[in-house]
Amino acid sequence: MREEKYIRCPYCESVNESKGDIVYCRNCKNRISGKKEINLQNAWALLIAAMLFYLIANLNPILVVVKFGVLSESTIMEGVVSLWEEGNYPIAAIIFIASIFVPLLKFILILYILINYKKPTGGSRRVDQAKLYHITEVIGPWSMIDIFVVAILTGIVHMHNVKIVAGVGATAFVLMVLLTMLSAMSIDIRLIKEGKDGD
């Protein structure tokens, strides 16, 4: 059984033959692999857009507190710092990892895959890459924590004198997560899988 001949559908897990430029899953009919050049272009475009939104999300407030008509805004990083200063170290760490570190890690990984896909990679490095990719896929949704926190606070604090609303940064953050997901999806598995070795 030569492994390169087969491709796993990321949607329904069924095994497909990797024949031709475009592969549609025989089970769920999703496109699992397209023309590589187009996939690469899409992945790059989506990744760059996602990184832009990451910047916007981090430079703009995600949380706005309106107290007696006075606004006080805070960015993700300011939120982390104030949690830290109040002594909530574990939660400050969770928010930092989930909102700042994980998206960055995902960017770096996608960049790494996109840059290296043409170079021959050894068998073991290919496995590492697939594993790392798998890990970021699993922890990816956790970067939504801070957005959920903002939504929960908005849902609670809507009094006469005190009100919490989301900031521009929160919307940018959601879009960033969405774009990163789309970018990762368009790096099809064949880009990670196909090294020029043939073990």
């Binding site: 059984m1 025989r26 496995v127 959920f148 606070l153 908005t154 849902g155």
Partner: protein, 213 residues
């Protein structure tokens, strides 16, 4: 659909190719390369999943009707009710965040539970084979979008932020939510797509499932 490709499985972690074998009761199949669990025997796990989906649906309805938190800030009291929270987002003009919340904490989890239950009923009666297949696909896609567990952790983080400013009481929905997450993590999230397909093959074929060489 009963071609030889159905007998194969590729590891999701390391992409190694394996041949599917029929498993004895309560056994798991592991990847020979990285040790990742590929699938486990499905006979009773799926029955359990379907039964627990009904429990989870009841809990989920409670979660969404009753307040999760009752909060008093400066002698004003408010409740945190999930659908209301989503509504407030839309009302404040945050359409992107509102839509995201609507999908990941309301629609997707609800669809997942309904799919499990419908699949259980259809496969028990052995009817609508084609539709049952569609439901499995639908279930697999929608459950990637269900983020109730992450949302629950976020509630705890939000509590920390409110601590000191507010008087907080937990509502019925909070306990229902905790139970829901436990049921979800232990009985529903553990079901792998491959196991759904094995279950499907078994329920809808007259012959006994005896593939593998």
């Amino acid at each position: 659909m009963s071609d030889s490709l159905d007998e194969l499985i590729i590891c999701s972690k390391c992409h190694k190719l394996h041949r599917r074998v029929k498993l004895p009761h309560k056994k798991v199949a592991k990847c020979s390369h990285c040790g990742n669990i590929l699938y486990s025997s499905v006979a009773d796990t799926m029955q359990k999943a379907i039964a627990f989906a009904i429990t989870a649906l009841t809990l989920f309805i409670i979660v969404n009707i009753f307040p999760i938190l009752k909060v008093t800030i400066a002698s004003e009291q408010t409740n945190l009710i999930v659908p209301e929270m989503v509504y407030i987002m839309f009302e404040n003009g945050f359409i992107v965040i509102g839509s995201m919340l609507l999908i990941v904490v309301l629609l997707a989890p609800f669809i997942v539970l309904l799919s499990f239950i419908t699949l259980g009923v259809l496969s028990y009666l052995k009817i609508y084979k084609h539709f049952a297949r569609k439901i499995i696909l639908f279930l697999i896609i929608s459950r990637q979008w269900a983020m109730v567990d992450i949302f629950t952790i976020s509630i705890l983080v939000a509590l920390v932020k409110l601590f000191g400013y507010a008087e907080i009481h937990f509502g019925v929905a909070f306990y229902a939510l905790l139970l829901f997450v436990i049921v979800d993590i232990f009985f529903l999230k553990t079901i792998r797509p491959t196991e759904l397909w094995i279950y499907f093959d078994r329920k809808y074929s007259d012959r006994k499932y005896s593939k593998g060489s």
